[in-house]
């Protein structure tokens, strides 16, 4: 069995040496994931708010559907996006397969249900408090949603973080639509999969350790931002 110590040593060596290949992979991971989460929020926040306060037919069914999609296996998303973007697929002309954009698209699909479902919950909770007041202002539905989203922004950060965690950690979707091409679409998780298949377990685990450290750092940074901001508004 491989030595865990070797994995930590490998992780440490990679970080300290400022390994150029590692930097490239890390930066692409961050770029793809943050872009995907940005678009997922662009879609998921209004969608979640609409599900929380909207009154339209099919709202219950959509809510169930969105909640169910939270558990969508990344491989399935990857496969669907692959079939859409493949040259033989309906969007083949866009020539997006095996590019970071394809990875962003797949991860956006993966993350949007999480952001939407958590947003729906957070906004519905807040609306229980705000509803009568906002209705007494005769706010149009859109302004009502905007008010709720803005006032729930600190809680919604958690939704975005949950999405970020999922996007950051998944390998199934980006492997299929990105192709794990060196210098083009190789990210942390696909690099870990590759090193595992090469039998370089210490290196793979070392990369895994770096991934965890990055994830913890991002979460801690955003939560401390939230904490500071919350102290400002709620004290």
């Amino acid at each position: 069995m491989q030595d865990f110590g070797a994995a930590f040593a490998e992780a440490f060596r990679l970080i300290v040496s400022g390994d150029a290949a590692l930097m490239e992979i890390v930066l692409l991971s961050l770029r793809v994931t943050f872009t995907a989460v940005f678009f997922a929020c662009l879609i998921g926040l209004p969608l979640g708010a609409a599900l929380a306060v909207g009154r339209f037919p099919g709202r219950g069914a959509i809510t169930v559907f969105v909640n169910a999609l939270m558990g969508l296996p990344p491989v399935v998303v990857g496969l669907v996006v692959y079939m859409m973007l493949s040259a033989a697929g309906p969007l083949g002309v866009l020539q997006l397969l095996y590019t970071p954009t394809a990875m962003v698209i797949a991860q956006t699909i993966l993350v949007t249900p999480i952001v939407a479902a958590l947003t729906r919950q957070v906004v519905a909770d807040l609306n229980a408090e705000y509803d009568e007041y906002l209705r007494s202002l005769y706010l149009p539905r859109g302004r009502m949603m905007a008010t709720l989203l803005w006032d729930a922004r600190h809680s919604l950060l958690t939704a975005a973080l949950a999405g970020l965690g999922r996007a950051f950690a998944e390998v199934g979707a980006v492997m299929i639509v990105g192709g794990n091409i060196n210098h083009v679409t190789r990210v942390m998780t696909t690099a870990i999969a590759l090193e595992t298949s090469r039998g370089e377990l210490a290196l793979a685990l070392g990369l895994g350790i770096i991934l965890v450290v990055m994830s913890v750092t991002i979460n801690a940074a955003l939560m401390s931002v939230r904490h500071t901001a919350e102290r400002h508004v709620h004290a």
Binding site: Y130, E132, Y133, T147, D151, A152, V233, H234
Partner: protein
């Protein structure tokens, strides 16, 4: 248009024209009933609200006072009977100001709470700062503008929701136990604001359990018991001797539900 006091109307809208055309008063409730899950919560309630004095809505807990207030505000639709606002089927937008027993504070600064309301009322951005300053002074919250609203004391929060409700320059002010559990200073400021609104021609419906406050504020008293209106009586006569048995028992401290 009503006669405005010299320093402008109650919300400080001294120069600007009223944004609504028409009035909301009188509000006429005709045999209004409200039922939820087959339980009749309000029954056969008829009441006309007009003028510019304060109608105090009294009655024991669970009698249906808050529900009646929400029906008058148009937040709830009656399940039987009709409500008309100056003959219309819905109140004019922004013609009704509401203050709840537990103030709803947006998770923003005091100033942003007022700004949000003014924006909802369609006050242009450039005109808001002056209005906000005036409203803050009415609530005696001049030095609290940049504070998050939710860190204010209970009294300060209720003063803020009071001027926030007045910001629309409403025809009708609906207050649901606004001073329950507030300190005397905040209570006095809020009562002052109600008097000021009345002077400016605003009709007020005040739900309160505080008899002293009812005596100080009421032009007339509507007494509600088990979802039914037992009497609507001019204040002096009511406090002299309530007309209905339920109100007499309540005032004598004998009627609890």
């Amino acid at each position: 248009m009503r006669d405005l006091p010299v320093d402008g109307d109650v919300s400080g809208n001294a120069a600007g024209p009223r944004r609504r055309d028409g009035e909301t008063l009188p509000v006429v409730l005709d045999q209004v009933g409200y039922a939820a899950r087959d339980a009749a919560l309000i029954g056969d309630l008829s009441l006309t609200l007009e003028g510019a004095d304060v109608t105090v809505l009294m009655g024991p807990n669970g009698a249906g006072k808050s529900l009646t207030l929400r029906l008058i505000a148009g937040l709830l639709k009656p399940t039987s009977g009709t409500i008309r606002w100056a003959g219309r089927e819905t109140p004019l937008r922004h013609s009704v100001g509401l203050v709840f027993q537990r103030p709803v504070m947006l998770r923003r600064t005091v100033r942003a709470n007022l700004d949000h309301a003014l924006a909802a009322y369609g006050v242009p951005r450039g005109a808001r700062a002056e209005r906000i300053a005036h409203l803050l002074s009415l609530a005696q919250l001049e030095d609290r503008g940049e504070r998050p609203a939710r860190v204010l004391s209970a009294g300060e929060q209720q003063r803020l929701s009071m001027v926030r409700a007045l910001a629309a320059d409403p025809d009708l002010l609906l207050l649901d136990e606004p001073t329950a559990s507030l300190d005397p200073q905040s209570t006095a400021i809020i009562e002052g604001l109600v008097h000021r609104a009345a002077d400016a021609g605003v009709k007020t419906v005040l739900v309160t359990h505080q008899r002293g406050q009812a005596r100080r504020m009421a032009g007339e008293v509507a007494f509600i018991h088990r979802g039914r209106l037992t009497e609507v009586t001019p204040a002096r006569r009511f406090f002299d001797r309530p007309q209905s048995d339920a109100a007499r028992a309540y005032m004598a401290g004998e009627l609890l539900v």
